[in-house]
């Protein structure tokens, strides 16, 4: 084991890259040019063999670790796992975080000006798929001079990107860390996403997605979408332990304002999210989740699909994750076993449901750290 002393990466600075080679998207539309915002931590070695791509999930961004000089509280979404001496050790690896196409943190997306109209894309921004993100990430790798990633790492929707990398660019990824993911969504999962989308689409302030020009924000819809999502990211037990039936004022008040503590928590989470995230991006991200199904290319046979992969895998799931349950991770593992690929699978005991992949858990982090330490550079 290496040193256990860890620290924050400190101040980080986002960067921007412009790509002028057109990108044909899965939906058939071509993006003539686009920009990606990204951050890097650590140093790329001379052999360029120590690069790790960290893919973000639904609400994440390129800001994976550290904080901004002008925003001490704006800490990266996976700061507990990325930094000097942390599981994704910036003393050893060169780590890249990128905001995906269609995002709302600076990369080309619905709020960007559409060159064809001179107005924001809004709802006209093409529906992007996981494979489109992976193609864009590959161009970013070219731009950074990285032939092959030492590893691509992601949780949830991020794990789907790592999986897609192994199929689409098998020669450009040596290890895939697929965490709290699934090879495709279930009908129940798509159903949750559709309710979230309906909340946004039916908000009178949505204006068919062209709310930027109207000066409105479909806050209510986005807030509801996040509240629903948040319920599904937690476990029943975690909610019971944290909130139970606690009453804010200690007794029933017989009104529709906040009475139970869980209501207070969910409304707060919804409000916070609605203030910081873009509704069009939320719609796009949930669609990308719904569309993800690489086995479609082989008539639903995931094992046949994974025959293209050469990477070594670490697959991780969490016992209380019911949105992307351990059984879904085991589907991925089985497809890898069928192809005699190198794979390890860990099922982490955790109370935090789907959100566990973001939590600082000693055993989970030890698994990540140990796997990454074995990667030859």
């Amino acid at each position: 084991m290496s040193a256990t002393k860890t620290s924050d990466i400190g101040v980080v600075v986002p960067q921007r890259a412009r790509f002028t080679q057109p990108l044909v998207l899965r939906c058939g539309t071509t993006l003539a040019d686009y920009e990606l915002v990204y951050e890097t931590y650590g140093t790329l070695n001379a052999a360029k063999s120590n690069a790790i791509l960290v893919c973000h999930a639904l609400s994440g961004s390129h800001h994976v670790a550290g904080h901004y000089a002008d925003g001490l509280k704006n800490i990266g979404w996976w700061n507990n796992a990325v930094g000097p001496g942390r599981p994704l050790d910036t003393d050893r690896f060169f780590i890249v975080g990128v905001n995906n196409l269609g995002g709302c943190h600076g990369s080309t997306g619905p709020a960007t000006i559409n060159p064809a109209t001179g107005k924001p894309w809004g709802a006209d921004f093409p529906l992007v798929a996981v494979i489109d993100w992976v193609h864009a990430q590959a161009r970013l790798a070219d731009y950074l001079g990285i032939d092959a990633w030492a590893a691509v790492v992601g949780g949830s929707l991020g794990g789907m990107q790592a999986l897609r990398w192994t199929i689409t660019y098998p020669e450009r990824i040596r290890h895939a860390l697929v965490i709290a993911a699934a090879p495709r969504l279930t009908a129940q999962n798509i159903a949750f996403n559709d309710v979230a989308r309906q909340a946004i689409l039916t908000d009178p302030d949505f204006h068919g997605g062209h709310y930027y020009e109207r000066g409105t924000v479909p806050r209510r819809g986005l807030r509801l979408a996040r509240m629903l999502g948040h319920i599904t990211y937690l476990s029943d037990d975690a909610m019971a332990a944290k909130f139970g039936r606690e009453l804010r004022e200690g007794e029933l008040r017989f009104h529709f304002d906040i009475e139970f503590e869980i209501e207070s928590y969910l409304r707060y989470q919804g409000d916070k999210f609605a203030d910081s995230f873009d509704a069009n991006t939320y719609l796009l991200m949930t669609k990308a989740l719904d569309y993800f199904d690489p086995a479609r290319e082989c008539d639903g046979d995931l094992s046949a699909t994974m025959a293209r992969a050469h990477a070594e895998f670490l697959v991780i799931s969490f016992t209380t994750d019911w949105r992307f349950s351990p059984a879904r991770s085991r589907e991925i593992v089985k497809a890898l076993l069928d192809n005699h690929l190198d794979v390890s699978y860990a099922e982490i005991t955790s109370a935090h449901g789907h959100d566990s992949f973001l939590m600082e858990d000693a055993h989970y982090h030890a698994i990540l750290r140990s796997y990454l330490e074995k990667i030859a550079l």
């Binding site: 085991r330 593992v333 089985k334 076993l337 190198d342 699978y345 860990a346 005991t349 140990s370 330490e373």
Partner: protein, 198 residues
């Protein structure tokens, strides 16, 4: 890689049987000691299956492929005949459905290898004769904390194989690290078998 010969007597026997370059599934692989050795010295490939999270972590630290899972729930993630050897070392006596586990071993592997403490070892018999459950080097537990629920003797296992269409290919019986050839069911404390479908 400098991987020492496994210290457990049954590991040495298994390592002697495994042909180079073969595919192995090690059920209940623990900290990966045996698999690590077979990968390093027999150029074997494959996976360990282990339920204990601490052991899973140790396997990952060693760079061994390990699948966290419960072998009692079957080996449904593994396709028929996908391994040369399926190994179950000192675990057969601790599983609830030994019959099912052996059947699954021979479904996913061409050959099975099991090791188990021989309940017929004279020292165990002696303790039972004096009215006590045996505690010994290979059976280190008390009756109230033992994970061993399906203990058997060498004679029992061989009858089981005969009744379940399992052909024994090779047997090594050990006591204190040495091979026992005289009255093995009496003088051997640990049995190691290699077998296939009959």
């Amino acid at each position: 890689m400098n991987v020492p010969l496994p210290s457990r007597a049954d590991f040495a026997a298994i390592a002697g049987w495994v042909r180079p370059g073969t595919r192995i599934l090690d059920l209940g692989c623990g900290d990966g000691t045996l698999l690590n050795y077979l990968v390093a010295h027999r150029k074997a490939s494959g996976y360990g299956v282990e339920i204990n999270p601490g052991d899973v972590l140790t396997c990952i630290q060693r760079g061994i492929n390990v699948i966290q899972g419960d072998i009692e729930r079957g080996l449904s993630d593994f396709t028929d005949g996908s391994f040369d050897y399926v190994i179950l070392s000192q675990t057969l006596q601790a599983v609830k459905n030994s019959e099912y586990v052996v059947k699954e071993m021979l479904r996913v592997g061409r050959q099975g290898i099991v090791t188990f403490p021989n309940f017929g070892y004279w020292y165990n018999r002696l303790q039972v004769m004096f009215g006590r459950m045996p505690v010994s080097h290979n059976l280190p537990y008390n009756w109230y904390d033992t994970p061993n629920i399906h203990l058997c003797t060498i004679a029992d296992f061989e009858k089981f194989c005969a009744n379940h269409n399992v052909r024994i290919l090779e047997r090594i019986v050990i006591r204190n690290g040495s091979t026992v050839s005289l009255l093995p069911n009496l003088f051997g404390s640990l049995a190691v078998y290699r077998f296939e479908r009959g």
